[in-house]
Symmetry: C2
Subunit: 715 residues, 2 copies
């Protein structure tokens, strides 16, 4: 259920801009978490500007604030309650909050779904109680909200990030503690942080619109373990990604990670392929490490997007520049070739031994003036999309001055371009890092990390410049007819469709199948063979087998009446020998000369139908190199999923292989997606092989792609 | 030329333990690099215990030390000179040093090979001068030596690493500056640092033995741009890797990186495949980022090796544990299943809601006692090889106490196991990091980095437990005969060997080829066909073509006299039509039913002959998934290079494919390596395809592997 409507946006406002806050379970004991929460609410950069009411029946005042015995006695204005009390008291407190007219509650307490069945029941009761009063709950088992602009900090974590443009949404509260400690130490600012805990009520898809509409938030980063509401999440990212960069890391990418996530949340993990497909289709930038995500987020927050992938390196050290250049290559970026006129200009201003192409190497002792001059000149190079400035501390180099001069150069440039810094070191560089952050220059210690952040900028740019139309079915796709057929074919149980039924389904979806008929007798087989034309394939029809090849149930390459007769007899004999029913044969025109492709449909519990693309053939299958997209998909999605499989380059005519009819392949993938989307009754299925014929050969009127064999499981 | 003899070890001792040091080009100006050098030599933790003599004709004293007008006037003892003077004065100064009896010189000055032809000539003259006096030179264009135990610091970099067990050898001096700043900031200790600069005289292979024999050095890390002396380097790593872990990152892994390296050093980069092969064969752990290398180095320096790859995670935060678990999976490690008895024991001591399997989650507020108790219990688990302890700062958690307690638990354990820490954060954690370093617990900010360091430990363990015998030729490999044949076949120019010559070469090396004969007439072809037996292949012999298939010069599957006659005529006609000479046909027994393999020989300019392994077939070739090893190689090397190609798993009998005769394949690879090693005349070559027959089929007396076609270029 998606709740990302404008109404909901208003409904959750109390979590970000409450009129007043009641802290239920406030304590005078500095060793209690709620003491930390009250400290963050009252003091320092996160001091909330409105009233804060400690609630505790056993105290008169806490931290100098009047304490209330219960929520009922708290005066107006108050619309947000924070609960830090034992799990078994939460339901009662929520009831009391509801009666008091509280609209929003953050439940920090643990002891719910994450501790087992009893906790899960407790969680359900709590949510039901809240719903009675139209109250929304964030948590339980999360640390709530930080908004550095309100300001507001409901967490007990020591330290509040500085004001910034990165919003962080996390399904792990404890991770937030580590991240806050890190960003505070590094001087990286946040706009908001949302620790959603168990998501008993409010989940990530509810909250993303609040980050999208927040003027202070430029970048949204997410740590996810489980997407609760697949369609709602897809709606949210689809609408937000064109406006703001969405960054994500999801636990459960490997078997070990899935085991850890399951034990942590009790969630049954959806296989990662579906989440990855969702990210690729809808412009979410997915990361493999949390540090890389924030490295990229910082670059997106601070710098404009490069308009391409040509990166100039300006450095005072050759080694780090070489490492950066290697990483450019590994991440699909290129080292800019400095334009000859720019090289000539650089040669005039720089040290005689400086290098003016490849990495621009200013030599070890380069001053701030040399850095500034080099960058000012480079900014005039039209064949350049971004600058990576590497600064290695040297006894005689004023690193702060270098950063300041680079910032000044960029600020006054006629054609500014994104700039990223690598400040390589630590002991002497804290002032330089601070200067970099002050000037919104994203700065990293290691060249590989800096290039990783650049790659994030480029990835975002490249996604934005593509057209992302909503998927629409091919004009001749008759959804009503397909749906009617599916309904007719569906059963109460999982059932394998017959060859004829599968072919009907494909045909209904506009996917071509070789001409075929069913024959129950040898004579009928011969008649049909003569009607269809040669070469032909005969396939055994038997309710008992789904993998025909295992009993020798497929005989290829039949070229005349005599071989048809022999093949018919052989199939009947093989059925008898294997002791399986013989229900006739499938007489099918044999297609030759195409590329063998495997397409599949899987149904993901969270995200719905998933389309698989892979190459046929023994090597390709052994490599298990396949790609996924969620249905329905666009032609662009289909083209990208083909390109994602490295060996698929043979379809473009590798080493004398025929050039495949890519348009037909893409069309077939799109149609299979619409078939899966239109018919929820299809539990899984595959076309194996899809034969994609050579494109546009002289004398061939209609190449295309034919589903030579297909298998669907329907329920 | 390798110079890694015991004599050389003594010869270079003056670089590490000089009796006295002359600093030529010492300056009173704090803005000069030589002032920084003198400061490091005289003050602080790096203060050299012996005499230091500033040399400068224009000063009486510098930094309170008596200054000498020239090297000739410097008194005894002195055996090391450090030169920080303009490039054009270096040759004269080296001459003067030689006359004064100096044995070792560090040339920090730049302006040599790295700035072009004139500089390269200057560099050669400098080395020639030094050789006249038996003097050795480190540099130029490097920053020299740090030995934290002597102590000695010839660099001008501000800051000296603390004493530690990591030695760092770098071909980039400027990189050293950044790394020193970083390790000083992070509290990571070094034993030695060697900045070898342009390696005009002393190069990496000369120095590695000094790091190997240094009792203070436990781990050797290298940043390389170019291996100067391939055989010397191989000798050095081969002898050192069994004793100490060797870690390396080499620039030039991608095209961008190669361009950057070339512009930086003027070096013609050897393709990276050869370096990678050298690392894999000889136990060097190669990295893709400099941070990952030092992360791994720290773990190796501080902790013993795990005896396997089962890792327990102890944490106070679920999210970071899930991220760590994902990284375990990605790096081939496994999340330990906690033994049921250990789980029961944990349940007794830990919080009721704590998780005792999967990641051991102690919950947010876990104290040092809970961490200690959990680790003490886990150390008794026999199904566990290492522990990753994740500590996220929380208001009520004393992170220093947690680190101290973990260290104490480990120190008193009956069965200690390696432990790695993830201290996730920065602002509040400097004391915890310091405590971790004090107790030799390697600590990292992010879970992914911590798991990366664990993977380094496991990789080292797994390499050490393998047997690494020196390659030895198969017993029947007649090197003298092979060499004589090669000499006979070799030419002054690059020449393609004929099919007959190639087959002879393979046969001489003990590689099986299908039975074959040359026929010059149709009658001869028929005779030979009858003698060899069917099926047969006929191949066109023509001096003008090396790719026979392009002119239709190969006709397969000939089964009787009639088809032999037709094929002979067809080949003669095709040669005429293509206007190329017809020199007869090659009548070859056709091999069927095997796996198609491609083997190759390339000759690397640095490391010599390189053997390539890949799968045949269009998909495999399109994927270009191949592996390399240096010749000669062992059977283990061959088995590993096969395993490195993912699709090669089909050789083990994937999906009904035949199981290949792996012993024959490995034997063929080993023989090809010995052929390449024995015959430097072979410039390149390949066997394409090598047909590897199914292993041990009943009725087949000798499966094996046959080279169906081969091509060698000899010079």
């Amino acid at each position: 259920m998606s709740t990302t409507t404008p109404d909901t946006v208003t409904a959750l406002d109390s979590f970000f801009h409450p009129t007043g806050i009641a802290l239920i379970g406030a304590s005078r004991d500095p060793a209690k978490l709620s003491y930390g929460v009250l400290t963050n609410l009252l003091y320092g950069a996160s001091s909330f500007p409105g009233p804060v009411y400690p609630v505790n029946p056993h105290a008169d005042t806490i931290l100098g604030r009047r304490c209330y015995p219960d929520i009922a006695s708290v005066p107006d204005p108050v619309d947000l309650a924070i609960l830090v009390i034992p799990a078994d008291m939460v339901e009662g407190a929520i009831e009391a909050c509801g009666r008091r007219g509280i609209r929003a509650a953050i439940v920090i307490s643990g002891g719910f779904r994450e501790v087992g069945a009893e906790g899960a029941a407790r969680e359900q009761r709590m949510v039901a109680t809240a719903r009675n009063y139209g109250m929304r709950i964030m948590g339980p088992n999360g640390i709530g909200v930080i908004d550095t602009h309100t300001p507001l900090n409901t967490t007990f974590v020591v330290g509040t990030p500085t004001q910034g443009e990165i919003a962080f949404l996390s399904q792990s509260g404890a991770l937030c503690g580590g991240i806050i400690d890190w960003v505070v130490g590094r001087g990286i600012g946040f706009s908001r942080m949302l620790s959603v805990g168990n998501e008993a009520d409010i989940h990530e898809a509810d909250l993303l619109p609040y980050l999208a509409e927040d003027a202070q938030t430029k970048v949204i980063a997410m740590y996810l373990e489980e997407v609760k509401d697949g369609p709602g999440f897809l709606d949210a990212i689809r609408s937000i990604a064109p406006l703001k960069p969405l960054l994500a890391i999801k636990a459960g990418r490997t078997a070990s990670g899935q085991a850890a996530t399951a034990s942590h949340t009790g969630a049954l993990a959806s296989p990662h392929a579906a989440f990855r497909a969702a990210c690729r289709q809808h412009g979410v930038i997915e990361f493999e490490s949390i540090e890389a995500m924030f490295n990229g987020g910082l670059a997106l927050a601070y710098q404009p997007l490069p308009q391409g992938s040509r990166i100039a390196i300006v450095t005072n050290a050759g080694g780090p520049a070489a490492l950066a250049a290697d990483t450019l290559g590994a991440l699909g970026l290129t080292l800019a070739r400095t334009h000859p006129a720019i090289q000539a200009e650089l040669r005039k201003t720089l040290h005689a031994d400086a290098q003016v192409a490849g990495p621009i190497d200013l030599l070890g002792g380069a001053t701030e003036h040399e850095y500034a001059a080099a960058c000012a000149t480079l900014l005039q190079d039209p064949e350049l999309d971004a600058i990576l400035a590497i600064i290695v501390p040297q006894a005689l180099v004023n690193t702060v001055a270098v950063v300041e001069q680079l910032a000044a150069t960029l600020a006054t440039a006629a054609n500014p371009k994104p700039m990223i810094l690598c400040l390589m070191g630590e002991a002497s560089l804290s002032a330089a890092f601070a200067a970099a952050h002050r000037h919104r220059l994203p700065a990293y210690v290691f060249p590989e990390a800096a290039v990783g952040a650049l790659a994030t900028l480029v990835q975002r740019f490249q996604w934005l410049v593509q057209e992302h139309s909503a998927p629409s079915p091919p004009r001749d796709f008759d959804a009503a007819y397909v749906r009617a057929l599916c309904t007719m074919l569906s059963h109460d149980n999982r059932t394998n469709l017959s060859m004829v039924q599968s072919a009907d389904l494909l045909t209904a979806a506009g996917i071509r199948v070789p001409q075929a008929r069913v024959a129950h007798s040898e004579e009928e087989a011969v008649q049909m063979a003569e009607a269809i034309g040669y070469p032909l394939v005969l396939k055994l029809i038997s309710g008992a087998i789904s993998h025909k090849t295992e009993v020798g149930g497929v005989i290829l390459n039949l070229t005349d009446v005599a071989t048809i007769r022999l093949a018919f007899q052989a199939l009947r004999d093989r059925a008898a020998k294997a002791n399986i029913p013989f229900a006739g044969v499938y007489v099918q025109r044999m297609v030759t000369g195409g590329h063998e492709i495997i397409l599949g449909i899987k149904r993901d519990p969270t995200f719905g139908p998933l389309v698989l693309f892979g190459l046929g053939g023994i090597y390709a299958e052994a490599l298990a190199s396949v790609s996924f997209r969620l249905a329905p998909l666009t032609s662009l999605d289909a083209a990208e999923m083909i390109a994602e499989v490295p060996a698929a380059k043979i379809l473009a005519g590798w080493r004398g292989q025929p050039v495949a009819d890519m348009a037909a392949l893409i069309d077939t993938i799109v149609r299979l997606g619409w078939l899966a989307w239109t018919c929820p009754e299809i539990l899984e299925g595959d076309i194996n092989p899809l034969l994609v014929l050579p494109a546009g050969q002289p004398g061939v009127s209609a190449p295309g792609a034919l589903a030579a064999d297909a298998r669907f499981v329907i329920g």
